[in-house]
Amino acid sequence: MKVVVCIKQVPDTKGGVKFNPDGTLDRGAMLAIMNPDDKAGLEAALRLKDQYGAEVTVLTMGLPKASDVLREALAMGADKAVLVTDRVLGGADTWATSTTLAGALRNLEYDLIITGRQAIDGDTAQVGPQIAEHLGIPVISYAQEIKVDKDKVTVKRQYDDRYHMVEVKMPCLITALSELNDPRYMTPGGIFDACKADITTWGRADLKDVEDGNLGLMGSPTKIAKASDKVRKGAGEKVVPDSPEDAVSYIVGKLKEKHVI
């Protein structure tokens, strides 16, 4: 069984956010981590490796430094790593990104593709389903549980007020929720091996069956009109009352003033 996990290097949003003058993200200026949902997806794949001896390949698209998350994945136990990097792929929206990753996946063998539900930088949850669409395979999003039985996979699919147990024949694509599992740590031996491991690097020319017009900033149907740090409504009053009684009369006063009570 072969599993490909798509992972993304994302800026750690706790470290603050920086932009280029054109409104796109300045990823180089921020701390980088493996996206949490993707990490859960990787863990799910590694459990299939533990259970069934599945071969796990990790795939990412990004700047050359995105190889850091591939090495982290190798240190956790992934078998192979592929980095797709090329200047012409920069500035891609979800359409262009999913087109690119689908172009890379056409070169790989897979029974199962796992992506995170969404990345913490864009929060779109679009790339997984869009990859599946480009490849013509079924997608099951929001996976809370994944079980494999021969050529079939059963997924507990989360909805707002329910879940569905869904079964499908592989190949298919699953998007993983962080609550799927607790990802394992890298092992010292794994880190040692990962440092020396070969990472396959592909550029535009290695993508299969994709048109230039669907790649990068030019191939992105969505365009940024404006990007900015969020302007919040700002703080109102803050009081430090001397006693709980003072606090209560302050709150009750405000509730009366606003005609709440």
Binding site: G16, T94, W95, I120, D121, D123, T124, A125, Q126, V127, P129, Q130, A132, E133, G136, I137, P138, V139, S141, T154, Y159, D160, D161, R162, H164, M165, V166, V168, K169, S220, P221, T222, K223, A225, K226, A227, S228, D229, K230, R232, K233, G234, A235, G236, K238, V239, V240, P241, P244, E245, A247, V248, Y250, I251, V252, K254, L255, K258, V260, I261
Partner: protein, 354 residues
């Protein structure tokens, strides 16, 4: 990728995916219709709801009351419970057949799967989790010397990113439809017009099973009598600072006294103290009550993203530097265990005295 201006000109009308679950229209469908009415005005066009399901035709009148001029009904036994493939086929077929200029979908656990699949199928852009939608120009300002290249009547889609740290306004100028998913609880429904009727169009593109049809083995609904926190006028929301699941009692008492409901932060759900349906925030629900009490909630940006549109925010926290005070209208630094029970008594007394 880009469509020609002639092709773009063929796309007309504001369309809404009218999500239904168990043949009951989801609230987000009405909210989208409310927004669609606003967008249709400057475009001088009409509003169409796309209703997909099995045995759902009767719901068309409800959609008319909430602002749909037309309802396209795709009704087929394959569409009973939501599955990506037959639903994506239904919606993509409607788009290809009727050519809407705008297609709005709720950013629900259904819409965030259906939207991307359909946008990829019809080869257009999709902006996720929008909080503001407007009609305007792209680029926003004309480029000197290229004034005639500025496009008008574009859908401008504004969304938070980076966990709410930033906002971006996105356009989809050279492809149609312009697609957006919209967070539930953000847009306003209109006051329903009793007895309003829409033109109902029945359309079935035909459903042939293929490799992409998954099989639903089991549907497990959450059993719950909890009222939806998104409908509450007053929310008494607790965070990790409440200390224990038992101590939520003091919040429940306050909520009962003031006629509100209890909600909570993600930390509370992650600790297993309260169910996920009570969670406010980016991975929970977006709420905009008249009054939001944030009690023992530090105010992580992901939480704030889900409640900052509340009319009045009252925060009680013992940590003077808690970020919740940056968005609170009224912040009280103090011990919630001492303040909240007394507040409940005073609120009761004040209401009794009226």
């Amino acid at each position: 990728m880009n469509m020609s201006p002639e092709t773009i000109a063929q796309y007309k009308g504001v369309y809404v995916f009218a999500q239904q679950v168990d043949n009951e229209v989801s609230g987000i469908a009405y909210e989208l219709l409310g927004k669609a009415r606003e967008l249709a005005e400057p475009l001088k066009t009409d509003v169409t709801a796309v209703l997909i399901g099995s045995g759902v035709k009767d719901l068309a009148d409800k959609l008319a009351e909430y602002g749909a001029d037309k309802v396209i009904v795709v009704d087929d036994p394959e569409l009973k419970d939501y599955r990506t493939e037959p639903y994506a086929h239904a919606l993509a077929s409607v788009i290809n057949e009727y050519k809407p200029e705008i297609m709005l979908v709720g950013a629900t656990a259904i819409g965030r799967d259906l939207g991307p699949t359909v946008s990829a199928r019809v080869a257009t852009g999709l902006t996720a989790d929008c909080t503001v939608l407007d009609i305007g120009d792209f680029p926003l300002q004309p480029i000197p010397g290229k004034e005639n290249e500025q496009l008008h009547n574009q859908l401008l889609m504004t969304r938070p990113a980076f966990g709410g740290n930033t906002i971006a306004t996105i356009a989809c100028p050279y492809n149609r439809p312009q697609m957006a998913t919209v967070r539930p609880g953000v847009m306003q429904k209109i006051e329903p017009k009793k007895g309003a009727k829409a033109e109902v169009i029945e359309y079935n593109p035909g459903f042939t099973k293929n490799n992409r049809y998954v099989e639903i083995k089991e549907v497990v609904k959450a059993v719950s009598d909890i009222k939806d926190i998104m409908d509450a006028k007053i929310l008494v929301s607790g965070g990790r600072g409440v200390g224990s699941p038992e101590n939520f009692k003091i919040l429940e008492d306050l909520a009962a006294a003031i006629g509100g409901q209890v909600s909570c932060s993600r930390a509370v759900v992650d600790s297993g103290w309260k169910p996920k349906e009570m969670q406010v925030g980016q991975t929970g629900k977006t709420v905009r009550p008249n009054v939001y009490f944030a009690i023992g909630i530090s105010g992580a940006i992901q939480h704030v993203a889900g409640m900052e549109e509340s009319d009045i925010i009252i925060a009680i926290n013992k940590d003077e530097d808690a970020p919740i005070f940056d968005v609170a209208d009224f912040g009280i630094v103090g011990d919630l265990n001492k303040i909240v029970p007394k507040l409940t008594e005073e609120v009761k007394a004040a209401i009794a005295a009226k």
